[in-house]
């Protein structure tokens, strides 16, 4: 299927990927049902009722309550399915699912804004209650994205020199943040050296920087060995050759 998210991990089974994608589609369908159900209710003033022993002033639009319930529970079921199967595929597969949060609150917030600035009926004014809801929903939708972007921008400013060599693909910006943040922090004190401002260097990782080409070559060799392209004997010999290469 070619849906590999990790360097040397084998492709996940087709059924895993298919169920994962089904879960993603269910999440999107659930959000769409909620979005449309909300619009149907807002069209008639924003609230409605159904069932019960009382006389109902504003009955719900046909099908809207079912659509809303289906959206909530179908979307949740889809999220759990996609998360469960995505965990077998890789971090990228589960990570992308969190976009459902801004999608949900962004879409519902859009409804609040649209109906807030142009409420149904003949009233020419703005419906401030809905506009406030729109602000809150969009803050919930886009606040985390702004935080993520900010932390990624901060991570870019931390030099990666001397970082722990990763056997997998290049770390994402978020992973880079985690690496940088999980390293010990410099202790503040009068003896603090200005060059010690970067946690990675404080961790002693930069004390004796390894030759990057050697590390790369060793990693590539280990990968080939792990994948079975090199026998144990060939791997051992090639490793000795690498380590004894002139210029070391």
């Amino acid at each position: 299927v070619g849906l590999q998210s990790q360097g040397t991990r084998p492709s996940p089974p087709f059924t895993t990927v298919a169920l994962y994608l089904l879960g993603v589609a269910l999440v999107a369908a659930g959000i769409t049902l909620l979005f449309l159900g909300m619009r149907a209710v807002m069209d008639i003033g924003g609230y409605c009722a159904e069932g019960g022993p009382y006389v109902i002033a504003t009955p719900c639009p046909e099908g809207a309550p079912v659509a809303t319930l289906l959206g909530i529970f179908g979307g949740l079921a889809g999220f759990f399915l996609a998360f469960w199967k995505g965990a077998e595929i890789g971090e990228r597969a589960t990570g992308v699912l969190f976009l459902a949060w801004p999608a949900l609150f962004g879409a519902l917030g859009f409804n609040f804004f649209q109906y807030g600035f142009d409420p149904p009926g003949d009233d020419p004014g703005w419906a401030w209650g809905w506009i406030v809801c729109g602000v809150v929903f969009w803050a919930m939708a886009f606040g985390p994205i702004l935080l993520w972007w900010w932390s990624a921008a901060t991570a870019r400013r931390i030099p990666r020199r001397g970082a722990i060599p990763s056997p997998g693909p290049a770390p994402t910006r978020l992973e880079a943040t985690w690496v940088a943040r999980s390293a010990p922090r410099p202790r503040p004190g009068p003896a603090a050296d200005p060059s010690a401002a970067f946690p990675l260097e404080m961790a002693g990782l930069d004390a004796a920087p390894p030759a990057p080409d050697l590390v790369d070559d060793l990693e590539r060799l280990a990968t080939l060995h792990r994948e079975g392209a090199l026998t144990d004997d060939e791997y051992a010999r090639a490793k000795v050759q690498l380590l004894e290469r002139p210029g070391r």
């Binding site: 849906l3 769409t32 809207a64």
Partner: protein, 34 residues
């Protein structure tokens, strides 16, 4: 297309299919009874 981008494209396609399916189901549910 790189593997990472291809993966995101497939996920996006699934999401778009889900949106279309959701809109279709909503249409079925809210269609006035004939």
């Amino acid at each position: 297309v790189s593997r990472g981008r291809g993966f995101l494209l497939v996920v996006a396609a699934a999401a778009i299919a889900g949106i279309a399916a959701g809109a279709w189901v909503f249409g079925l549910l809210t269609a006035p009874a004939a």
